[in-house]
């Protein structure tokens, strides 16, 4: 965090090299979220570019006492939401799923599973998808997501629960998720 603060200070000082460092440090994070949210590589890159531009221009508004990552994710989430609401009626292109490369497990089953998870993810409601990605991929807590998305924690819990359920149902229909345990009872 101190490193991020120091980088932000150099950016605020107007050093060109700091701008490059800032973009290179966070481009993976921002682009990853954008790509999973909008599903199109070119659009995701445009949004990521806009997010990083806004972040660099708005660094004065960032509270140095707080981590920069959630702040960046807030901007990213807002831009993605705006983009998705503009294109609400346009089907999401699943471009990223053609380029899935599992570096740790290259067999066909793992690849098929990754593709199916992304397809299932694209079918989710945007808010479910966003919460699922922020939680499972970015590791944000409910409290952080609540501040970021300006939603109550209870709502986010419901959204995440439904996102998981829908994803698992989709994968079970394809025979890719673990089978359900019979005789499930609640305590």
């Amino acid at each position: 965090m101190n490193d991020d603060r120091e980088l932000a200070e150099r950016c605020l000082a107007g050093r060109e090299s700091a701008y490059y460092e800032f973009v290179e440090r966070f481009q993976g994070l921002v682009f990853g979220v954008c790509l999973r949210m909008v599903g199109d590589r070119h659009e995701a890159e445009d949004i990521a570019q806009e997010v990083l531009l806004r972040a660099l221009r708005g660094l004065k508004g960032w509270d140095p006492e707080r981590p920069i990552r959630p702040w960046l994710l807030t901007i990213t989430a807002n831009r993605c939401r705006t983009h998705l609401s503009r294109q609400a009626r346009r089907p999401i292109a699943s471009e990223c799923s053609d380029e899935v490369v599992d570096h740790r497990d290259n067999d066909d089953d793992a690849r098929e599973l990754q593709v199916e998870i992304r397809h299932a993810l694209e079918k989710l409601r945007p808010e479910f998808r966003q919460v699922f990605l922020l939680f499972h991929e970015q590791g944000l807590s409910y409290q952080e997501m609540s501040e970021l998305l300006e939603k109550p924690v209870g709502t986010l819990k419901t959204w995440l629960h439904r996102a998981r359920q829908e994803l698992l149902e989709h994968l079970r229909e394809k025979g890719l998720a673990p089978e359900k345990i019979n005789d499930v009872s609640k305590v």
Binding site: S141, K186, V187
Partner: protein, 237 residues
Amino acid sequence: MTCQKFEDALDELLASSFEDAGVISRLPPEMSEHVQRCQRCRQLCSDWLWLHGQVQRWPVESVSEGFADRVVANLHTPTRTLKRERNDARPAAVVASLAAALAICVLLTLFLLPSDHGSGTDNRPSIAQSANSENELAPVDDTVKSLVRDVTNALALATEAETTDIAPAKNDEPEALASDADALPNLGLGKTLRDSTENLLTTGKQLGTTIQPITKSAVGAFSFLWPEVGNEEKPRT
């Protein structure tokens, strides 16, 4: 531990970089105990950990070459340029909306506000307008009068025919006798026709009396549709 508390605790574990899918054996004792006796939460735990593990395997997506260069280059571009590109469609929409609103206002003004042909703020039709309205209605009156005249003539003819039929035959010719025999049905027809005509005239008069004020008001209210009517009476300068 309840199922709800177990779910919350599991979420907390996942949020704290809990990446190992085979971690069930390392769950905190309280959670582990709950899982042992609750199949639902065992299923939930298994599903969530599996899903979380799959997401953790996703590769890091990389941007295209020159991405950082483009961002930094755009950083030096004035913000307004970017905004203008994005908001190209907005001015046209605003102008169209304003034009539509203005058109609606003009139409409402024309239709709802009192006409200037009358006397100031008085909404009632002026004398000139009334006179002209009557002139406008003159053809209608002529038609009604013509109709009444025709009916009256028909009534007179029928009465005359009836009188002729009732009168005793002045000769003993067979045709005259036959005519006397046919007089009875003719008598009934003439009376019916006379009664009907009288009823028609009475109804027409009553209807005319009722409609006249309504007609005048309607003509006055819609006088803006034929402004030249009201202007005809005014002296031209």
